[in-house]
């Protein structure tokens, strides 16, 4: 029993948001959630003090859609550190390296503390290279505050403090929503970011906006070219016309909403009350698409490393370590995008322009593109399945935990003995299989959506997350409202 005792004094003292003492009325919950959402948008609009906004470049790049936050604002890191911290917790917990029993109250406190500490450490680790390494956040040449002039290093330190404060604030904002509001803060921030991008992708009055592009096409201001020759077709489908992106976006919506209802239902009956029947649903997207964030974040972290290494080498296009050029590791173009090497193959596909080699937009050989697509697919499908398994285990949705819940509610599976291990056996026939299939399917869907493009470049993962979180939120609100109307229900839902 080594680390637990050693870390206990620190972990048990991590500041936490108070829990409500009694039931929070639905309207009050809605108010807390809306309040945090307004605060989130407010903070994304506050520019960092000391940043030279014009020269800066987003380190998160295309990952911004799922990591929330806003580049150059107080919420620069978004939920990145929370996700990275969660990956570590999932891996440690899933492999059972922590030795924490989440049914034991003392271990629960330790788990919560460790989780918080990890996120805070990750916030510092994400913010440090952003500010100090390679000019992702270039500072203003001079900053004067009340007669005091800051030099470059001091401005950087000031920026680091702001980003760090913003990152810690996000963690506590999530906690407020989780304890006092509806759903979770992280879900809320993801929906907020993705919806913002999606709406902008439709109505933005520039060539990026879907409607505006079509206005330009119909009034002849965008040259479409000959449909028969292929050029016109390209413009309409993949270029400014974005028809394929529109179809993908709509299709993802439809698929997720449909897949939410695909489930294996295990019949239940009450042991004592005759006639009280129910069903336990094992959903196809059982583990939901949240584990997908973890896979994407893993890819994002690999890409950050590449970007940071690339910045260290100055103007040269090839990554150099200790004076040796390492072209196999990564070669970057003028825009800071990897064009070959390890970091190229491990970069996810974001848009049709990343892989449709026959259109002439891609500078790489066809086989290089193929390798990159297969690496992305493998990563997302296998990674999706693995993280889904860990997710189910660590969030108490596994066979053992659900069997216990069914037992506690006094239900049983008709035709089987009323015994936890019997119910667990039945659950084991469905839950692991459904989880793996669901995780892999969601991974495939995300890559496919990215390959065809989405409106507003929200990415497949962003869209999948937004739709399924919204769906969950809707279910949760419906449940809340029902409990408001019938206080008896609260007991049935297992809440006090």
């Amino acid at each position: 029993m080594g680390w637990k005792e050693a870390a206990e004094p620190v972990l048990t003292r991590m500041p936490a948001v108070q829990r409500p003492q009694k039931h929070v009325p639905f309207k009050r919950k809605l108010a807390w959630t809306a309040g945090i959402l307004v605060l989130y948008f407010f903070l994304t609009n506050i520019q960092l003090l000391g940043i030279d906004a014009a020269a800066s470049e987003d380190l998160f790049g295309e990952f911004r859609a799922i990591l929330a936050g806003e580049h150059g604002s107080l919420l620069q890191v978004g939920i990145g550190p929370i996700v990275t911290g969660s990956i570590v917790m999932q891996l440690l917990g899933g492999a059972n390296l922590l030795g924490l029993d989440t049914d034991d109250p003392r271990d629960q406190v330790l788990y919560q503390g460790l989780q918080k500490l990890l996120v805070i450490v990750m916030t510092a680790l994400t913010a440090l290279p952003m500010v100090f390494a390679g000019g992702f956040l270039p500072v203003e040449p001079a900053l004067q505050l009340g007669g005091f002039t800051f030099d470059q290093t001091q401005i950087q330190a000031l920026m680091f403090l702001q980003i760090f404060a913003g990152g810690v604030l996000i963690l506590y904002m999530d906690e407020v929503v989780s304890k006092w509001g509806i759903g979770s803060g992280i879900g809320l921030f993801i929906i907020a970011g993705v919806s913002q991008m999606l709406v902008a992708g439709f109505v933005s009055p520039s060539e990026e906006g879907f409607f505006y592009s079509w206005y330009l096409i119909l009034t002849g201001q965008i040259e479409v070219g000959s449909i028969v020759g292929g050029d016109g077709l390209y413009t309409l489908l993949l270029g400014q016309g974005d028809i394929i992106a529109l179809l993908t976006t709509v299709l993802i919506f439809a698929i997720v909403v449909y897949a939410e209802s695909v489930r294996v239902e295990i019949p239940l009956s009450h042991a004592r009350v005759k006639g009280a029947r129910g069903r336990f649903p094992v959903k196809l997207i059982y583990a939901s698409v949240l584990p997908m964030i973890l896979v994407r974040a893993l890819q994002a972290n690999i890409q950050f490393m590449g970007q940071i290494l690339n910045r260290q080498t100055g103007d040269a296009s090839t990554i150099a370590l200790f004076g040796n050029e390492l072209p196999w590791l990564g070669v970057y173009d003028a825009q800071g995008q990897p064009v070959s090497g390890f970091f190229y193959y491990f970069a996810p596909i974001y848009s049709p322009d990343d892989w449709m080699w026959w259109t002439g937009e891609v500078t790489q050989e066809a086989w290089m593109v193929m390798v990159r697509v297969s690496v992305d697919l493998t990563f997302m499908i296998i990674g999706g399945a693995i993280f889904a398994i860990f997710w189910v285990e660590t969030t108490n949705m596994g066979p053992k935990a659900t069997a216990q819940q069914i037992q506690n509610s006094g239900m049983q599976i008709p035709g089987f003995r009323q015994n936890v291990s019997v119910v667990e056996k039945v659950m084991e026939r469905y839950i692991p299989q459904v989880t793996v299939i669901g995780g892999a399917l969601v991974g495939l869907l995300a890559v496919w959506a990215n390959m065809l493009g989405t409106i507003g470049a929200v990415t497949g993962t962003g869209l999948l997350l937004a739709v399924s979180i919204t769906y969950k939120l809707y279910e949760e609100i419906a449940e809340e409202q029902m409990m408001e109307m019938h206080p008896m229900m609260r007991q049935m839902f297992g809440k006090e």
């Binding site: 003292r13 605060l39 969660s86 109250p105 788990y111 604030l169 979770s184 992280i186 879900g187």
Partner: protein
């Protein structure tokens, strides 16, 4: 009513961060209003400093 559904904390897993009911008496407890107030104040402070600089 479909009793099997949503029984016992199944829905509590929408977030990446897990919060349990257990709390240590040593822990520093923050009022949720304090979190919002801190956020608003941080934003206003940074914005004000940007104006004066």
């Amino acid at each position: 009513m479909d009793r099997g559904q949503n029984t016992g904390g199944l829905m509590s897993s929408a977030g990446l961060v897990r919060y349990f009911d257990a709390e240590d008496s040593n822990a520093i407890l923050i009022n949720p209003k304090t979190v919002i107030a801190t956020g608003v104040m941080l934003g206003i402070l940074v914005q004000l400093l940007t104006f004066v600089s």
